[in-house]
Symmetry: C2
DNA sequence: GACGTTCTGTGCGCTAACACACAAATAACC
DNA sequence: GGTTATTTGTGTGTTAGCGCACAGAACGTC
């Protein structure tokens, strides 16, 4: 859907003096502009950060930080998906937020506090760019577009978390599974999601058997097909139909708060 | 518990030049320093805001803003308790966050977006100070202590919301009722809380009958007594014993992120 | 192709919370 | 002081999701 926007954008969008660097990036497989937040920065701020952005592989299952540990970096996912999870004393868990190419992990670095009582892990393999804490804070404290963008993103994140709270209370496992699948699908380039039902059960904070049952329904309805950790989204609008209102509330809020030009720009340049 | 701190504080804590105004305030029934955030400001910023702070009565049930409406003020509760609620399409609802004298309502004003998809209402009558949106933004954009304080508070708020999400998924109605009562008790000066079971059911997003049952248990245990909208906290440690871990996780995070000197200072001066 | 491992499917009893329908108690108001 | 509205209590049946215990199916690997 974001690709529809590409026709509206021209190569004039970013001051031309900055293009040589960027064009190399476009051709390379990894590019900071694959991340919406980085892509939304004005050229000046973007270029200032470019030197400091470190590309890191994010293998599935890797723990980015544990509850209470001091954060060292702010992560901007490009192809990976990260998960903020809270683990209860009794072994239970729940995903608090999903973070993919639309966002960043580690907001407590600039919000203050340096740490947060939750764990972050890689939920889907890929890559991310990261900034050292000090670099991030320096740039944030300039008080310019970067700061405003991060704050707006944090606001969107807050809405996501809020809606998760409401959803956990009121909606059925099946609806929540749809939400989970759509959120994941949104953050990947492909229709095939790599996640076992066991993983999903940890994310949703429900029994694995419950996921099996709900996923079976969705498969029988022809919306997805899956086998051993590989879920194929066959009929996305089917899922959108079965999901609760929570999904679109959050989606709308992200679209409102965060510029989404990056996909369009990226795709346009690589064609 | 905060009063224990008073012995550690001296009247030198705030530059003496600012006291005359403050002392008048101390004696008066309403004082901006009853709010933790305002109280934590350094004198300079506090004095700059003082002119703009408007005291407003907050009667029970009053709606501060509706979902999607543009916010006009940032509210700093002193004696009232506010509630951020999300109302579902099907009539269901859930409280997303409680806001009392420890915080502020309307963070999306400075985070960006100007609005948020939820409703805010007065859950317990009292007073609040408020700042006009523009004044708030001007002060926030100075980038000083006020900004940092608000950001830290927002971070704490985020933890509260996150924990609510987890709690909604995993814990029993009875545990959640305890959490609700403790949160309310923390934000009031008295042991008697004015809330009907119907109200609590809206807050928790459960059936009223469920609240009746859980409240009955707590009453039989001797932790509370209640009748027609008046709940008396008799044994607070009983509640703290029955509540889930979520309560203390959030409490600890607030204590870590937000200076709590105000109670101490206030009490010391009024003695 | 035999083996262990990792995923997924299914069945059964259980419980917390639900929906609905009233009854009882307390306060509020002419 | 009697009527009305609000709040709380109780009962009955229903259901979504839980816990546990396996069985089957797919994959890796040696």
């Amino acid at each position: 859907m974001e690709t529809n926007l590409s026709s509206k954008l021209t190569s004039q969008y970013r001051p031309s003096g900055t293009w040589p660097v960027r064009i190399l990036g476009m051709i390379a497989p990894h590019n900071p502009m694959q991340n919406s937040l980085l892509a939304a920065l004005p050229a000046e701020g973007f270029n200032r950060l470019l030197t400091y952005l470190e590309l890191v592989p994010m293998p599935f299952g890797k723990v980015i930080y544990e509850s209470g540990s001091k954060l060292q970096h702010l992560y901007f996912p490009t192809t990976c998906i990260l998960s903020k999870l809270y683990a209860l004393a009794d072994g239970g868990s729940s995903e608090i937020a999903v973070i993919g190419k639309e966002g960043a992990l580690g907001v407590s670095l600039f919000m203050g506090g340096e740490t947060t009582p939750s764990r972050a892990m890689v939920r889907s393999s890929g890559f991310a760019y990261r900034l050292k804490a000090q670099v991030l804070k320096n740039e944030f404290n300039r008080g310019g577009a970067f700061m405003q963008l991060l704050l707006r993103y944090t606001q969107a994140l807050m809405v996501q978390v809020s809606q998760t709270a409401v959803c956990n209370r009121h909606h059925s496992l099946e609806q929540q599974l749809c939400r989970c699948l759509l959120l994941t699908h949104d953050r990947l380039q492909a229709d095939s999601l790599a996640m076992t039902q066991e993983l999903i059960s940890n994310i949703l904070g429900v029994r694995r058997e419950g996921v099996t049952e709900a996923a079976g329904k969705l498969q029988r309805a022809g919306y997805i097909s899956y086998s051993r950790g590989h879920i194929e989204v066959i009929n996305r609008s089917g899922l959108e139909n079965a999901v609760c209102e929570c999904y679109s509330v959050v989606k709308t809020e992200y679209d409102r708060l965060i510029p989404h030009a990056n996909q369009a720009k990226y795709l346009q340049m690589s064609n």
